[in-house]
């Protein structure tokens, strides 16, 4: 940390020059105070300005260092010090030029102040947002956030009083005004991605061809219960035996099977909900919805398990005499015509 800090401090020498200027101006201001008060006022302002610029430069450099190390408190304090420095500059300005009601300068400075407020209103909102986000711990370096309105989806790299810099998943970088995060809704996925919630959601719908829906015969029921069949597919571990009987609908049996199968998977959370249900019928067939949560703290792991679950659905549908709907392709049509 120390060597990293030194490297940054040496590299960013411009504000050390400002620091030296601050000392020079301070000396001159003290000297001129005794000689000419008008010059002294401007020298005092220069002294104050160079001091504030020095502090801002130092804090920005430290913010970069703290951002690299994800030192959240350090970043917050640096930004607050920047804010206080700006406040100090405004206060100093008022005191140096003796701006009071009735004074000629008051109107001019009032108008300038009003205009500056108007111009920098987003910055001011940004400051408020920054304080709000940091005080409530809503945004940290490394958080994965989405801002739907701006189409931004990535990892937070830097947070300042006015902007948030994000590294998007498509490897581009976005810088957005921090005030957006106060005015519009944003999604912080960090808790989910670090495995601190029930898990990552899979919400998939499969269209099952209704042509293959049927009630099972006694022969089929016996087959489902047979040792050979279960050696291969193991369905009795996940389907209550009393559900396997002549006249039972294969689609219902499959829904129950899939539900119990998911409930027993070591990476599937039973809470907050695990749903396997039929939803609206569409012209292609019946839609089977699967709504489950995978326990993991890694995107790749989640995708892997999601694929395993989907593959199991594709595989197991056939055991129950069901199949997924597939719109006929031109190849299918041509093959059919050729056969005819």
């Amino acid at each position: 940390m120390k060597s990293l800090g030194n490297k940054w401090l040496i590299k960013n020498r411009w504000w050390t020059i400002v620091g030296a200027l601050f000392v020079v101006f301070l000396a001159m201001a003290i000297w001129s105070y005794c000689k000419d008060k008008h010059i002294a006022q401007w020298l005092q302002l220069l002294t104050l300005t160079s001091f504030v610029v020095f502090v801002i430069g130092l804090c920005n450099t430290l913010t970069n260092i703290f951002s690299l190390r994800k030192k959240e408190n350090g970043i917050t304090w640096c930004q607050i010090i920047i804010l206080l420095s700006i406040g100090l500059w405004i206060l100093g300005f008022i005191l140096i030029f003796n701006i009071q009601s009735g004074n000629n300068n008051t109107i001019v400075f009032g108008i300038i102040g009003g205009l500056l407020t108007l111009i920098f209103q987003d910055k001011i909102k940004g400051v408020v947002t920054f304080i709000h986000l940091r005080a409530n711990n809503l945004l940290n370096i490394g958080d994965w956030i989405q801002v739907p309105k701006l189409g931004v989806d990535g990892e937070v790299r830097k947070v300042t009083l006015t902007t948030v810099t994000l590294y998007n998943w498509d490897t581009t970088t976005s810088t957005i005004p921090i005030s957006t995060l106060h005015a519009d809704h944003f999604i912080n996925l960090q808790h989910m991605s670090s495995g601190k919630t029930y898990g990552w959601r899979i919400d998939k719908t499969f269209i099952v061809d209704t042509e293959c829906f049927h009630t099972i015969s006694q022969q089929e029921a016996d087959m489902f219960k047979s040792e050979d069949f279960n050696k291969q597919h193991n369905i009795l571990d996940f389907l209550p035996e009393n559900e396997i009987k002549e006249g039972a609908l294969n689609a219902r049996m499959y829904r129950l099977y899939l539900y119990h199968w998911l409930m027993s998977q070591p990476d599937v959370s039973q809470l907050p909900r695990l749903v396997v249900k039929w939803i609206d019928q569409v012209k292609e067939g019946m839609q089977l919805q699967m709504y489950v949560f995978i326990i993991t703290n890694n995107l790749d792991d989640f995708e892997w398990h999601q694929s395993l679950v989907i593959e199991h659905v594709m595989e197991s549908l056939g055991w129950f005499g069901l199949r997924l709907y597939q719109r006929p392709s031109s190849y299918d049509e041509n093959t059919k015509e050729a056969a005819l």
Binding site: K196, T197, S269
Partner: protein
């Protein structure tokens, strides 16, 4: 007998699944083996060789299983030396290990203890050797009350934690190890700690309600491990240390709880019960959960599973382990350990 203790005799209230009380000899062996094992365990993980298969030595095995839970990646090996060909059946009796024997054989068992049986003692066996004469010698040295009664103060306070945990719904189910989220509940507990410690045993209730007895004993077994937990984090009185190790401690506590439940006669749910449980929703599922765990003739518990499975099956229960682990230093401070 030490001053400022609350000594009670809880084991006499234990009943088997048919509602019969255990013999005096069995109860006596429990007291002896409990006192002996607690005296022997110093916090350092150690494998143990129990040389002998008398009822007293089998009780020692029972208490070793109850208390040998450490924060470690490797299980504690308990080796029983016995020439009895049916020793496993003997161990499966309710007064010894009950369902634990079968559970340890399951492929999905992730408990932190391992049970082995050998025909003869040899120097190659790993662990500290315990013989019946060791136990008897220890019992003879100790005063009657030190062996045949239990200081229940810690257990009373542990029970308060369970009761408080059950009351406070907002103890998070997700992000269970975010210790900051227990802050308010712990403040409430510290307030409760000021109350006078009343006896654990309510004779009228304990005589008639076997579940109450099991829950009371559960608090005792849990509380008996407090010092071991403290040792695991180098007896650090700093609460921060307990927070940092909360997850590891909670995992260990869950393993201890599973062993304790299995020994106390609970079994994991079977295939049919699982199907039934999964087919019920909301209040009905909760009601079925209670039916299973309160069926005195055949006790079963959903939460008898690995910690990982508990996180996906019944995450609301995770709070008890985490909360208790955070409360231990406060309890020990209150009792000036």
């Amino acid at each position: 007998m030490k001053k400022n203790t609350l000594r009670e005799c809880p084991f006499e209230y234990m009943r088997d699944r048919n509602g019969n009380k255990f013999s005096e000899e069995t109860v006596g062996n429990w007291y002896k083996s409990r006192a002996f094992v607690l005296d022997r365990l110093d916090g350092n993980q150690q494998d143990v060789v129990v040389d002998g298969d008398s009822p007293l030595m089998l009780s020692v095995v029972r208490h070793l299983a109850l208390y040998s839970h450490y924060i470690s990646n490797k299980p504690t090996v308990i080796t029983l030396v016995s020439q009895n060909a049916t020793i496993e059946d003997e161990l499966k009796k309710e007064e010894y290990l009950c369902h634990l024997v079968d559970y340890l054989k399951r492929a999905d068992c992730d408990l932190d203890i391992e049970l082995r049986t050998v025909k003869e003692f040899s120097d190659d066996l790993q662990g500290v050797r315990i013989t019946e004469s060791d136990v008897n010698e220890f019992v003879n040295k100790k005063g009657h009350d030190d062996v045949y009664t239990v200081d229940t103060r810690k257990a009373v306070l542990a029970q308060r934690i369970y009761e408080l945990g059950a009351l406070i719904d907002n103890l998070t189910a997700e992000d269970i190890h975010s210790t900051k989220r227990y802050a308010m509940a712990l403040d409430a507990f510290e307030y409760l700690l000021r109350d006078k410690i009343k006896p654990l045993i309510d004779k009228a209730q304990w005589e008639n309600d076997p579940i109450k007895v099991k829950n009371g004993l559960s608090s005792i077994y849990s509380a008996d491990c407090f010092e071991l937990r403290a040792f695991a984090i180098n007896n650090d009185k700093n609460y921060k240390k307990w927070e940092e190790n909360n997850e590891a401690l909670s995992i260990s506590e869950h393993a201890r709880w599973v062993v304790e439940r299995l020994i106390m006669g609970y079994r994991p749910i079977n295939h049919e019960e699982r199907m039934q449980y999964e087919s019920l929703f909301g209040q009905k599922r909760q009601a079925y959960f209670k039916v299973l765990k309160n069926n005195v003739q055949d006790l079963a518990h959903i939460d008898i599973c690995s910690y990982r499975d508990l996180r996906r099956i019944d995450p609301n229960s995770l709070k008890y382990d985490s909360f208790l682990m955070l409360a231990i230093p406060r309890i020990l401070k209150r009792l000036k350990h």
